[in-house]
Symmetry: C3
Subunit: 258 residues, 3 copies
């Protein structure tokens, strides 16, 4: 007889620039749980640099790519809170994302989209002017996650606001650093599919060398290029930080050479 | 037919000065889950500065204000652990809070109270002398959250120890910075109800100007005063840090002027 | 009538050096929840210093010691990812741990073991070469937590790779600092059982004095030695940081004197 599996609720991930020192994230979670009491909450990160919409966009895409159809995502990096920027509901990869319409959906749209875009029309009776994540977005997503129909809360719109950030163009044989992680590994916008087995990688004036399979393929302290866990070309230093050793920063050019 | 909603357990929030680098928070969570296995745990913050009881007090109030009747809260900033300081159980806003009786309940008491105070009488068979959060408070709160009657574990006492921190007195037309958040926004102890539409705000010698609705009401980089998401007067810099730009610190005087 | 307790799933704790700024932890959690959808996830810490296997080992032991039979643990500090290092499944204290076979199990093995060791044989159809935590370890642990038999996924092996770190030898009357926590408290490898009531403690050339019961036994700012919450001799400074005040570091010798 199969083991009886308990019931379980929808998955909701959270991404923000709220940090971990204040109650803001908890306030959003309590609003989510009020409307979706059985939700399984998963923090993506709250360490996005304040107002860094691109950085938030990249982490949000990672969460969507790692989740399954039916998952929900709340992403709040919202410097325009209280202004007339729209609140976006996006359906993409059979998942539902609520975030400000300020470009936060960009990287998910580029890699996993296009999706379907809606403007959140629902508003609560009372709302602060400074924390729509707690007062509008979390309740709305909670309602969607517990079964409220999207058409009851939102209306279709044309494409969302997207940042001018793209996957590298295969014709260019070059791209840029779009993210640097906790280990100092630099991720580019060059997808695995663009690479030939014989490619070497140059970053700025520095040749990093052939593309390896994993960190352990070079001696400790040495730089390498490899396909990272997001399926993008990554520059790393084994047991070290490529960011520090190679002085990398977001926007640096990455070139493929034969 | 309505969608079947799974069962779900009590909400328990956690606030501490334990940081995120050690297993201390996990040890408290495992103790909570032992006694309240279906609890839905929500971290408020564990980044309270070590032994900063006032800072913990402010975050705890935020958690209580954001939760609903029936919620439970564990707050541990406990420099007196192992001494004869009492352990407090407070019932306030129809919610139950367990924390040391060292002032940690202060801000919730000022804004949402008064509550009813109890001294935790229950003790485990074995306890460390240095981690009552794990050994006494978490098990006790877990028992309460899973239905044990309060009177079985605690006895009524007169008011708890409260810090000398108060909501601003309307007669004073002035208050103080009581918290600075992750974005560098400074929250005062001046509640929205104390403000007139024509008030301007002065902090130290600097006039911040009229009270705005939201950050986007001033140009990027400019300071503003507004009602923050906690219903208190807040000093901010749009897309920047008021703490850095205006050199604010906790205790700075905030004055209302016409 | 007793209150109806909802069903609940297995406890799974997570320990890593992934930090909180990236989606890596969320990606592991989503993989765990895919295979063990009712799991109750508890973060131990993700702030292990990058590639610090000993530091991760100590936090993992704390999680196991605090959990109950039937709990599951995922620990990923994995500088050798993608190399031929094995993936370990350990059964210890009636709990199941999945981690790389690089010494991460050491401290749990020393304090709570020996356990039974297995090599994970299961591999997914597709895996990255850089993130086995997400692609191999989390799915495998999720399967075990939802009832898959260990023998279906892993084969018995002799003892795992263990670091040269041990509990202090009673004959030596001395040990070493093995961990410094968020408060600056230094934990040694000297267990409570090794201490006599009359022992005084010396660290480097500095005599810390008699062993106390708790922090409040000395004036604020003063150093003390006591049995910490892990049952090990700890050096602390009341309301301060022993690490800063006494300039302690991992590896420092701690001596018992009469």
């Amino acid at each position: 007889m199969p083991r009886k599996v308990p019931e379980f609720g929808p998955i909701i991930t959270l991404t923000s620039d709220f940090g971990m020192a204040d109650a803001y994230v908890a306030q959003m979670k309590l609003a989510l749980l009020r409307h979706a009491p059985s939700a399984r909450l998963v923090d993506v990160t709250h360490a996005i640099a304040p107002q860094d919409v691109l950085g938030g966009s990249i982490q949000l895409e990672r969460a969507i790519a790692a989740a399954e159809p039916g998952a929900f995502h709340l992403a709040v990096v919202d410097p325009g809170v209280g202004s007339n920027r729209r609140i976006l509901v996006t359906v993409l990869s059979e998942q539902t994302i609520v975030c400000p319409d300020n470009g936060l959906i960009t990287w998910a749209w580029r890699r996993l989209g296009p999706g379907k875009s809606f403007e959140l029309a629902w508003r609560p009776t009372h709302s602060s002017t400074t924390f729509h994540g707690r007062d509008i977005m979390a309740p709305a997503l909670g309602m969607l996650a517990s079964g409220t129909k999207l058409t009851k809360l939102a209306r279709p719109i044309a494409d969302p606001l997207l940042l001018d950030v793209h996957l590298a163009d295969p014709a260019d044989r070059a791209g840029r650093v779009i993210h640097i992680d906790h280990f100092g590994n630099a991720t580019s916008n060059i997808p695995a599919e663009m690479l030939d087995p014989d490619d070497a990688v140059r970053i700025g004036r520095r040749s990093v060398n052939r593309i390896r399979k994993t960190y352990a393929d070079v001696p400790p302290g040495k730089p390498l290029a490899l396909i990272g866990s997001a399926g993008l070309l990554e520059i790393a230093v084994r047991n070290g930080s490529a960011q520090r050793t190679l002085r990398l920063k977001i926007g640096d050019e990455v070139t493929l050479v034969r």
